[in-house]
Symmetry: C2
Subunit: 253 residues, 2 copies
């Protein structure tokens, strides 16, 4: 819980360095042990969870802001980030504003404002991310997207919009590179797609389609140790992957 003094310092700083009225919220997807996760923060004022977010420095490009915010929350650099929607309802932070209004005089309170929020979604490497809370939160952790805690503000809408966008993007762009470890098996990759889409796919057709994209290199090794036939390992062919990102894939699920 922040003290009144801390809040006043924060406010003073924020007003100096950030643009007023604009915020950024990020939906950070990770994938681990066959489960799709999203990074969330538990507010230290309420029993509700938020997406990682922040503000835009006065002379900072917004993509850089989003990167900076996520670097603070995950320790990762060079994150795959895409803006997907702007949330511009004047009432979207109403509850939030009222909370802070009790703590500081409204007139001079950076946080008691309307914020138009630019939504970004991010695909990150679960294993190397190091979730770190910010000053407004006590916990920063991954949540299973099928078992989410209660959201604060309009963050549930932001999350859902991001997931819908990601599902659509799946038809146009390869997405595995940022979410899978460097080497992976076809069933593992399939699990990722199934998790995002929320439905089962046919093993054989999935494999054919993926290979058809030409973005995978089949490796010689197999993943030993499983209780059954050892699956082959694959890695992404970065050159073709990048070309697919730029040029787009085709078709739909």
């Amino acid at each position: 819980m922040l003290t009144k003094e801390q809040l006043e310092t924060l406010w003073a700083e924020a007003d100096e360095i950030y643009l007023n009225n604009i915020s950024i919220d990020c939906v950070v997807f990770g994938f681990h042990e066959g489960v799709m996760k999203v990074l969330m923060l538990k507010s230290n004022n309420e029993d509700a969870w938020l997406l990682p977010g922040g503000f835009v420095r006065k002379l900072e490009p917004i993509d850089v802001s989003a990167n900076r915010i996520l670097k603070e929350r995950t320790g990762l650099d060079e994150i795959f980030l895409k803006q997907f929607h702007v949330f511009g309802d004047p009432d979207r932070t109403k509850l939030h504003n009222e909370m802070y209004r009790d703590m500081l005089p409204a007139k001079k309170n950076f946080f008691d404002r309307r914020f138009i929020s630019i939504g970004y979604y991010a695909l990150v490497d679960f294993v190397n991310a190091n979730p770190t809370p910010d000053v407004f939160s006590e916990v920063c952790t991954w949540q299973d997207i099928n078992d989410l805690p209660p959201f604060q503000l309009d963050h549930e809408l932001i999350f859902k919009t991001a997931l819908d966008t990601l599902r659509l993007q799946l038809n146009y762009q390869p997405i595995g590179y940022n979410l899978m470890p460097r080497e992976f098996t076809m069933p593992e990759l399939q699990k990722l797609y199934e998790t995002i889409l929320g439905k089962k796919l046919d093993r054989r057709n999935f494999q054919r389609r993926m290979l058809g994209f030409g973005i995978l290199n089949k490796l010689e090794e197999t993943r030993k140790g499983g209780a059954h036939k050892a699956p082959y390992l694959y890695e992404f062919n970065l050159e073709h992957y990048q070309a697919a990102l730029d040029g787009g894939l085709s078709g739909g699920w």
Copy 2:
């Protein structure tokens, strides 16, 4: 050309009623006589053209802002509008800022600021639109998208991004309703698609696909007066059209 006094009044008003640092720019598409048009304004300070734009009132939802701005520029209400991208480079309005900096003291100048611009594209009825300049421009008119004048600021990027987005949307959504007159022929509709996509389509396959969507009603009448065989007229089936908008179409070109 605005006088210094007018600018000062504008500045004072703007600071009162609009959010700082946020703007909206609109790419307004119209279609007339087989040519795709975009609405543009000629700045009264420079020999360069701008997309219609404006600012967000302090308590106004951003979608409402976009509608309001376009109502001022076209006289139309209930415009088909979709936000498509945020342009957040701090230098995007640099030249613009310098221009206004000469006219008013920077510190107190609403226009000498960084603006993060939310891009909307709009599809409007060319015939009923009534292009009207704003206070910063002397001309507001339609421009052929294949023969565009020089753009100011980053408005060329905004335009191109909008067109790319529209092309993608074509795969998911019907778009004719907002661009065509109430009754139209199949070749006319095809021309619209060809203009947006920038390529020729097969007459027969186009017709089959369109009819397959089930969003058209074939009318009894034909368009007389042409120098050749009279084509049938169609109208959109609004119920099915709306369903297609909500549910999405399928496939790709």
